[in-house]
Symmetry: C2
Subunit: 414 residues, 2 copies
C-alpha cells in the first residue's frame, strides 16, 4: 500500500527559519523571511525531481511527473507560506508542507500517480501586508488584473509595492499568471479550520463544501484639527469620534443579520496629541456571511449609517471609502468533495468528520473558479488562528496530510 505514517509537520524547517515569536510566526508576504522560505521550498521540491516554474506573481509550481507522461494539467495541492504579522505556524504553511510530504511519500515509496501531481505556493494569500487576500491566485484565476495586484502597496510603507518587492527578490517568473496559459487540473488544499467547530464536536476532519462571502473596505474620514479645550462640541469636525461611532454601528448592523463585522486597523496621521482633535482617521472593515446578498446588504446599511454619522456631529466630517477585497460565497466541486469524503470515511470513520463551510477565504476559492477544487480542514486548538498560539497537534497534522494523499490518489484514478 502507499500508506505510511506521515511525520509531524509542526516544527518544520520552514517554521524555524522565520521571524518567530515563541510559538508563532511573522512572515509577511515578500519580506526577507518569505524570500528565504520560498528558496527552501524550491530546493526541497527540486530534490524530489520536480519540475519547478514561477509565474509573474511569484506563484511557485512544483510538478512531479506521472506514469502516463500525459501533458494534461497537473493535479495540484496548494496553499501559502506567508503569515499574519502576529500569526501562527499552521495557517497556510500546513497545506504547503503537507503537499511536500505527499510528494516525498510517493517518491520514497516509488509510487507514481498516473497524471502529473504537484505542489503550489501562492503568493500573499493573507493580504496582511498588501491588503488584498488571495491576490495572486486571484490574478491566476482572472478575477483581478495583474496591474492591480502589482500596484498594491505595503499598508505601512507605501513605497513598497507587490511589484517592487517581487522584483527585489527576483521572483517575477517568466510564465504568465493565468489559468489559461498555465492551467491546473484540480486543486486540493489542506488547512487548519481556524474556527472551533471540529474541536467542539470532537471530529478529526472537515470536508469543506464551500466558503462564505466577504468584502473588505477601507473607510477614510476627514475632519479638522482643533484644540480640545477651546473648541465647543458644536464647532468640531472630529474624525476620531465619527470613526468610533461607525465601528460601533457596523458591529450592531452585522449582528442584526448574523453576519460578522470586524475592524483590525485604525489609522490616524502622525503627529497626534491628547489635546488636538485629529484631521483624519481611517479604518478597515471586514464583513462576512455565507450568503452574498447578506454581505451586500450589511455593507450598504453600514455605508448608509456612516453617512448619517458623518453628517450628524458638530459641523460634520467628510467620508470616503474603497472596496479592497470582494470574495463572493462559493461552492466547491462535488467530485473533489466526494474523494475527500471517501478518504475521511476510510481514515476516521463516518463519525470522525464533518461537512463544513469555510469562514476564511483561501486560494482554493480562486482556483475553484477555474478548476475542480476542494479543501480539507483539521482542528486547531480553541479555534484560535491569526495568533501566535495557533496550534494543531502533530497527530492531527498527520491525519490531514494522510487525507490529502488519499484524496489526490483517488482523484488521479477518476
Amino acid at each position: 500500500s502507499h500508506h505510511r505514517t506521515i511525520r509531524a509537520l509542526a516544527d518544520s524547517h520552514a517554521a524555524k527559519t522565520s521571524a518567530a515569536t515563541e510559538t508563532g510566526m511573522a512572515r509577511l508576504a515578500l519580506d526577507d523571511d518569505d524570500a528565504r522560505v520560498r528558496r527552501w521550498f524550491a530546493s526541497e521540491t527540486e530534490k524530489l525531481g520536480c519540475h519547478n516554474t514561477t509565474d509573474q506573481m511569484g506563484n511557485m509550481f512544483a510538478r512531479q511527473a506521472g506514469s502516463l507522461g500525459s501533458p494534461a494539467p497537473m493535479t495540484a495541492m496548494g496553499s501559502h507560506l506567508d503569515t499574519q504579522p502576529r500569526g501562527g505556524r499552521y495557517d497556510g504553511i500546513l497545506g504547503v508542507m503537507a503537499a511536500l510530504e505527499v510528494l516525498r511519500t510517493l517518491k520514497d515509496k516509488g509510487r507514481k500517480t498516473k497524471y502529473d501531481l504537484g505542489a503550489i505556493n501562492w503568493t500573499n494569500e493573507e493580504g496582511a501586508r498588501f491588503p488584498k487576500s488571495m491576490v495572486s491566485s486571484a490574478v491566476w484565476s482572472g478575477s483581478i488584473p495583474l496591474e492591480d495586484a502589482y500596484s498594491l502597496a505595503d499598508i505601512f510603507n507605501p513605497q513598497a509595492t507587490m511589484e517592487s518587492e517581487l522584483r527585489r527578490h527576483g521572483f517575477i517568473g517568466d510564465i504568465p499568471c493565468s489559468s489559461n496559459a498555465n492551467p491546473i487540473g484540480a486543486h486540493f488544499e489542506l488547512h487548519i479550520e481556524q474556527g472551533p467547530i471540529l474541536e467542539d464536536d470532537g471530529k478529526k476532519l472537515g470536508v469543506v463544501q464551500g466558503a462564505q462571502a466577504y468584502k473588505w473596505l477601507t473607510v477614510t474620514v476627514n475632519g479638522r484639527d482643533a484644540h480640545t479645550g477651546t473648541t465647543p462640541m458644536a464647532a468640531r469636525r472630529d474624525p476620531i469620534l465619527a470613526v468610533a461611532k461607525m465601528i460601533a454601528a457596523s458591529n450592531a448592523i452585522a449582528r442584526e443579520s448574523d453576519a460578522l463585522a470586524s475592524t483590525g486597523i485604525i489609522k490616524i496621521p502622525p503627529g497626534s496629541s491628547t489635546n488636538t482633535l485629529a484631521s483624519q482617521a481611517s479604518f478597515s472593515l471586514d464583513i462576512r456571511h455565507p450568503h452574498d446578498d447578506v454581505v451586500a446588504g450589511v455593507v450598504s446599511r453600514c455605508l448608509e449609517s456612516f453617512k448619517q454619522i458623518a453628517a450628524g456631529d458638530g459641523k460634520g466630517v467628510d467620508i470616503s471609502w474603497t472596496l479592497d477585497t470582494d470574495s463572493p460565497a462559493i461552492k466547491f466541486d462535488p467530485e473533489c468533495i466526494k474523494v475527500v469524503q471517501q478518504s475521511a470515511d476510510e481514515l476516521v470513520g463516518p463519525d470522525g468528520w464533518l461537512p463544513l463551510t469555510s469562514g476564511a477565504g483561501h486560494d482554493s476559492v480562486e482556483t475553484n473558479k477555474r478548476c475542480p477544487t476542494t479543501m480539507i480542514f483539521v482542528p486547531c486548538r480553541n479555534g484560535v488562528s491569526h495568533h501566535p498560539e495557533e496550534y494543531c497537534s502533530p497527530e492531527d497534522c498527520a491525519i490531514g496530510t494522510q487525507a490529502l494523499l488519499e484524496a489526490v490518489l483517488k482523484y488521479d484514478e477518476l
Copy 2:
C-alpha cells in the same frame, strides 16, 4: 510716554527657524528646532543686558534689572515656545515674543521699571510630545515631583524621556526648579484666545479671570488577536470595538453635563491587519469643564461606562487607565486682573474687551498657585488653534503686547 507702536510679531525670527508648514509650526518640546529657538531666545535677551538663568527643567528666566536694585523676585512675563505637532505660530510663541518686545521697548526708550522685570520660556507647555501639559511650570509650582517629569517618555519614542532630551541639549540648568528656591513676583501671560468668543463679539482683548478644569487619561484595553472570518462574535475579545464604544460613550456622557470630552490619540500595536482582531488598543481622553466637580463626575461616569463596555461584548476585554494630567479650575489674582482691565480700558475702551475664562490650560495656571497671576487674550481667526491655520493679525498681536506692557508697568507701580 513709554508707549510706542509695537511691531508685528507674526513672522518672527523664531517662527521662521522651525519645521514649519506653509502657515503652521511643528516644534515639539526639546526637539532640535526647540533647542534652536531656545538658543535664539537666550541670545536675544542677553543682547538686552538681561541676566539669564535656566532651571533643572530647562525653564529659561531672563531678568532685566529695575531702577531700585531691589533683590525682590522679578515680575515675569512668561509663556512657551514649543508647539503642537501640527500647530500654529501664535499659541505660546506670542506670549514669549511679546515679553521680549516689552523688554526691548523699555530698553530702547531708556525706561526702567522699579522692580526687576523679566521674560520666561517654560519647557513643554503643550504636553504634545511628553504627555503632561504645563509640566515644567508644574514642577516649579510644586504640583508634581521633578522625578515624575524627568521620567515622562516621548509618546511615540519611549526611549527618549524629558530628562534624556534635556540632557542631550545641555538644558539642565543649575538652579532648582522650584518656586521656593527661584520665586517670581507675579506672572503675566499674553496668549491667543484659542476660541471664537472675542472674534464673534468683535472685541480686541480678553481679561482672563481663570481657567477651566481638565483631566487627561490614557485608557488601555487588552483583548486577544483572532481571525475576523472564523471567530464568532460571541467568542471575541475585541479591543478596537470596545475602544470605539468607549469613545462614543465618553462623548455622550460629556454632553449631558455640557462638558468637553475629546480623543486625539488612538494606538494599536504594530502588525495590525484587516483580517485579524487586534490584541490591544489604547486612547487618550481629555475631559474639561469650568467646574472641578463636573470634570470629576464625567470622568467617573466614563470609567463606569467603560467597565460595562469592557464586560459586555463577546468574552469581554480587560481595561486599565492612567491619569496623566490633572489641572483643577483656577481663579486668577484680582490685583493682576485689575491692572490688565485698566490697561484694556485705556487701549480699546470699556467696550473693546471682555472678561473670559480660559478653555485651555496655561503655564499661568501653575504660576497662579505660587504668585499673583493673570492672562491677556487676543482674538484668533475663527477661534482656530492647534492647527496650522491658527492666525492672529499683526494689529491684534500689537494691541495684546501693548496691553502686556501697560499692565506690567502698572503692576510695577503698586
